[in-house]
Symmetry: D2
Subunit: 311 residues, 4 copies
Amino acid sequence: MADIVSMRECRGLHVVAQTPFREDGALDLDSIDTLSAFYYKHDAQGLTVLGVSGEQGKLTPDECIAVAARFVRAAQGKRIIVGVSSPGIAQLVAVAQQVMAEGASGVMICPPAGTQTDEELLRYFDIIFARIGDTPTVLQDFPGHSGVKMSPSLIRRLVETFPQIAVVKEEDLPSVTKITRLRAELGYKVRILTGNNGLYLPQELARGADGPMAGFSFPEMLSGVYDLMSRGESEAAHRLFNTYLPLLRYEAQGEWGIAIRKEVMRQRGAMECAVLRAPGPTLNAVDMAEIGDMIARMEIGFQFDTRTLGR
Amino acid sequence: MADIVSMRECRGLHVVAQTPFREDGALDLDSIDTLSAFYYKHDAQGLTVLGVSGEQGKLTPDECIAVAARFVRAAQGKRIIVGVSSPGIAQLVAVAQQVMAEGASGVMICPPAGTQTDEELLRYFDIIFARIGDTPTVLQDFPGHSGVKMSPSLIRRLVETFPQIAVVKEEDLPSVTKITRLRAELGYKVRILTGNNGLYLPQELARGADGPMAGFSFPEMLSGVYDLMSRGESEAAHRLFNTYLPLLRYEAQGEWGIAIRKEVMRQRGAMECAVLRAPGPTLNAVDMAEIGDMIARMEIGFQFDTRTLGR
Amino acid sequence: MADIVSMRECRGLHVVAQTPFREDGALDLDSIDTLSAFYYKHDAQGLTVLGVSGEQGKLTPDECIAVAARFVRAAQGKRIIVGVSSPGIAQLVAVAQQVMAEGASGVMICPPAGTQTDEELLRYFDIIFARIGDTPTVLQDFPGHSGVKMSPSLIRRLVETFPQIAVVKEEDLPSVTKITRLRAELGYKVRILTGNNGLYLPQELARGADGPMAGFSFPEMLSGVYDLMSRGESEAAHRLFNTYLPLLRYEAQGEWGIAIRKEVMRQRGAMECAVLRAPGPTLNAVDMAEIGDMIARMEIGFQFDTRTLGR
Amino acid sequence: MADIVSMRECRGLHVVAQTPFREDGALDLDSIDTLSAFYYKHDAQGLTVLGVSGEQGKLTPDECIAVAARFVRAAQGKRIIVGVSSPGIAQLVAVAQQVMAEGASGVMICPPAGTQTDEELLRYFDIIFARIGDTPTVLQDFPGHSGVKMSPSLIRRLVETFPQIAVVKEEDLPSVTKITRLRAELGYKVRILTGNNGLYLPQELARGADGPMAGFSFPEMLSGVYDLMSRGESEAAHRLFNTYLPLLRYEAQGEWGIAIRKEVMRQRGAMECAVLRAPGPTLNAVDMAEIGDMIARMEIGFQFDTRTLGR
C-alpha cells in the first residue's frame, strides 16, 4: 500500500516515453539509457513507458518486460509507470506482475474496446484487481483511442471501489470540462494527469490537473509550462506553450505524429534511430524538410520571444 | 396515458412488417393492404412497421409517414407501432409526432450508435421524452445492430424514470438470460417482446417474454408457438418451431435474409414484388432454387410431422 | 456540366458555416443573413453549409432545405455547397435534389459508416450518381468522423469514374502526405480543399491544397493564410496562423469546439445566439472566462506581433 | 512449400477446438488429450486450435504455444492449424514461428480491426508473409468478428500474391453467395472451409465449400453432413443437420454459446470442466435445465427420425 500512497503524490511532468528500435525494427534497449537521460534532463518526474505512443501494441509481452526493466534500471530514482492494457486479461495480468517484479512503480490500464456499460466496467476492474492486488494503477480515460467512455460518476465509483487507482489519466475531450467535474466529484483522492499529447495543457492545469502525462519532442516545454503554472506565472506559461504549439499540434496526428516526434528526438540526440515498427509510416524528403522548417521557425520565434520579452 | 396503459397490455405476435417496393424502388403503398391482411390472417396482434428489417433507414421521413399512415388505415383495430429511431433527435421527434397524429399506437426507439455510458443514455431519453410527451414507447435493446449496450440496471432506471416505456424489445444476446434478469428487476411493469428474427423464441417465452416482435415469412409459426406455449403445450411448440427453423435461421442473415423473406412472402401472395431498396441484395437463379428446396423440404417435414404425430 | 466545370475552379476559403439556432433550439433563419455577411466580409469564396460542424445531423430534411435555401438567398454570388451525407440514400438524394433546385452550387457527400471495401464504395457512388445526375459534388474524405477509409488509388478511381466529383475535401490524417499522394495521382483533375478545422493549413497549402474548407471563429485568419501562401509569403502566413493557433486548436474539440466557436462568433456579432441543438454542450462561467482569456492573449500577441514585425 | 501443397488438400471436418480450463481458470493441458480423442472419434480431419471460440484472446502467448504444442502431440497424424491473429504483428509472428516449430501444420490469420482499404490489407499481409515465410496459412474472412471486410476481388489478389494462403475460412454473411463468387473467381486454387458455427453448412457445401471449420458439441453432425453431401445424399444430409439445428443455433450466441457448448461437451465426457476464462458467462440452474431439455428433445427427435425413416 505504501506504493499506492506514493503514487498518489505524483505531479509534474510524466513523459509518455518512446520505444527505440533499430533500422530493422528490433528493439534498441541500449538507447533507453540515452532516452531516459534526455527525459530526466528536461525535468521528467517519471515516465510512462509502453503507452499508446510508446508503440506498446507492436511488442510481444517478453519485449514489453525487457523494455520496462531497462527503463527501471535507468530510472535514476524516478517513477516508472508501465502501460499494460491488452484485449486479454491474462496477458495484462502476466505483464503487470512481471514489470512490478522488475521494479516498476505502477501500471497504466485503459479498458479494452467493447467494454461498455457501467456494470461491465466495474466487473472488468474487479477481475483485474483481484489478480494484480495492490499494484498502484493509473486509470486511462481515453475514449478517442479505446472507444470506451466512462462518465465522471463511474470514475468516482471505480476510484472509491478500487483504492489501487491512484491516478486518472484524463484524455476524454473536452478534457478541460471533465477535469473540472472530476475534481468536483473526487476532490484530491486521486491525482489527475493529462494526455492528448499535451495539446490543452495550460487550460487543463488551470482546471486543476496535476501535470502532463504526455510525449513531446521538446519535453522541456511540458515541464516548463507546469512549473510556470505552479508558480502562478500564467502568462509566461501560455507564451512558452504557444511558441511550441505549431510542432505540438503537428505531433498530435496519431502514428504519423509519433514518426515526427521520434525524428525530432533523433535530431536532438535522444535516440539513435527514429524508425517505427511496421506497420508504421516512414518519412520522406518532403516530410523532413517540412519538419526542419517548422523547428527553424519555432526557434526563431523562441529566440525572438526570449530577447524581446526577457524570459 | 390511456394509450400507455393499453400498450402495456400487449402480448402475442407483433410482426416486424416488411415495406413493399415496386421494381424501381418506389414505395408500393397499395401492397400494404394485402400485406396487412396476410399478417392479421396469421394472428398478428399488432405490427411494428419501419423496424430495421422494414428498411426504415432507406426511407425519407415523408415516406416513413406515408407508410405508417397506410398501415394504420389497414390496421383492422390492431396495434401499429412505428420504428422512429434516427441518428438525429429532431428527425426522430418530427416523425414520431406525425405518425402519432396519423393514428399510430406508439413508437419504437433504439438509442443511436455512440450513445455510451448510463449517464448519456438517461440524458438522451430525457431529451426525447421532453418532446414526444406521453407517446407510448417500445425501448429497443439491440446492441448487435446499434452498438449500444444497456445493462439490466440501466433499463430498470429508464423504465422507472420514463413511464412512457411500456415495452422492452429485448434482442441483446443471450436474450434468454437477459429476459430472466429483466423479469427479476422489473416484474411486470413493462412487457418484454423478443426479436432476433424469432430465433430463440421458445426459450425466450419459457423465460417470461410476452411474445415475439419479429418478422418471418411464415408468421403462423410465430403465433403458433406463442399460442402453444401459452397453453402449456411446450413440446408441440418446440416441434412447430423446429420444423420451420431451417428457413428461420436462413432469414436471419441481415439484409440478405430480408431479401429471402420478401421473396418467400411474394410467393405466398403477401406482396406483389420482393425487391429491396438499393443498396440491397438481389437474388439470382441459384439463390431461388436454394429457397425452393428449403421450403419444399420444410413442407414435407411439416406434413410428415402432422400425419405421424396427429397435430 | 457547366456547373461542374465551375466547381472545379474553386479555390480559396470555403467556410464550413455554422447553423444558427434560437435559445429554444428552433432554427434562426434570419441570422443566416448576418452570418453570411460575416463570412463574406472575411473573404469567403463560398460556403459549405450543413457540414458536420454545421450540425446537419440534428436537422430534419425540411430544415436542411430551408437552411440551404436561405444561405443561397444571402450568397452574394458566392458558391453554396450543401452537405447532404446521410445513412440513407433516399434521404440524401431527396435533399440533394431539393437544395439544387433552391440554387445551391453543389453538394458534399461523405460515404456512410460501414461502407467498406473498394468494391462497396464504387457501388455506393454508382447508385448515388445514377440519381443525382450531374450535380457538382465534393467528395469528403473524413475517416475520423465516418469510419470509412478511402485509399488514394480508390479516390482516383472514383474521380475518374464520376466526373461529378469536382473537389475532394481531404481530412484523413496525416492530410499532408495524403495531399501529396493525391496530387501525384490526380494532377489537377479535381480541386483539393482541406478540413480538420484548418489545423494543418499552412503545410497543406504548401503540399498543393487549393484552400481551406473549414470553420473558425476568425475566418480572416483562414483567408489570410491562403492569400499569403498564394503570394509566396510563407513566413508571414505561418506567423498569422500561429497567432491564432491556440484558439484554433481549442475549437478543434468536436462538438464542444463548435460551442466555443459559436460563442466567439456571437461575441463578434456574427449571430444572435450561440446555442447548439440538443444533445450538445452548454458553456458555463468557467468556460466563458477561459475563452475570454484565450482571445485576450491572442489579441495582445497579435497587436504585439503587428507592431514589432510591421505586418 | 510441401506443407502448403498438403494444406491445399484439406477438406472435410476441421473442428475449431475448445480450450479446456480448470475451475480456477488455469489451463488444463491434460484434458487436451481427451478432447482431441473426442474430436477424432467423430471424424475430424484436423483441428483449428485457438480460434475465436477457442478463447485465444484470453491466453498469453506462452499459453498459446503450450496449448498448440499439446494439441500437436495428441494429433494422431491429423492437421493442427493454430489461430495466431493478434492486434500486434510482432506477437502474431512470434507465436506463428513457435507453433510451427512445435509441429503445427499451419496458422490461421484474420486481419485486425481497423485494417481498411484494399491497399492497407495488401500491405498488412505483405509484412506478415515477409516474416513467417512459407507457413501454410488459412485466411479468415470474418467481418462479423473483426470488422474487416474483404471483397472477393481483394481475396483473389491476396491469394494470387501470397501462395501461402492455402485455405479461405469463409464466414462473411451471406456466406453462401460469397462462396459462389469465390469459387467463380478462384477456381480450386484454394480450399474454402466455412465457419459461423456451421449454421449454414448444407447450403455452403452445395455451393462448393470443401468442409466445415467450426465447433459444435456434436461434431459427428458436422462430419456426417459433410460425408452425406459428398456422397450426394443431400436429403439425408439436410435431415441430419435439421435434427441438430435447435442446439446448433443455440450455441451460435457468441461467448454464451461457447459456455453452452463446453457444458454439453463436458456432459459427453470430452473434457473435465466446462468453465470459460473470465470475463465469461457462467451457467445457472435455469440455463442447465434449458440445455437438458434441448438435448432430450433433440435425442427423441433423432431416435424417432431414425426409427421412422430407416436411417
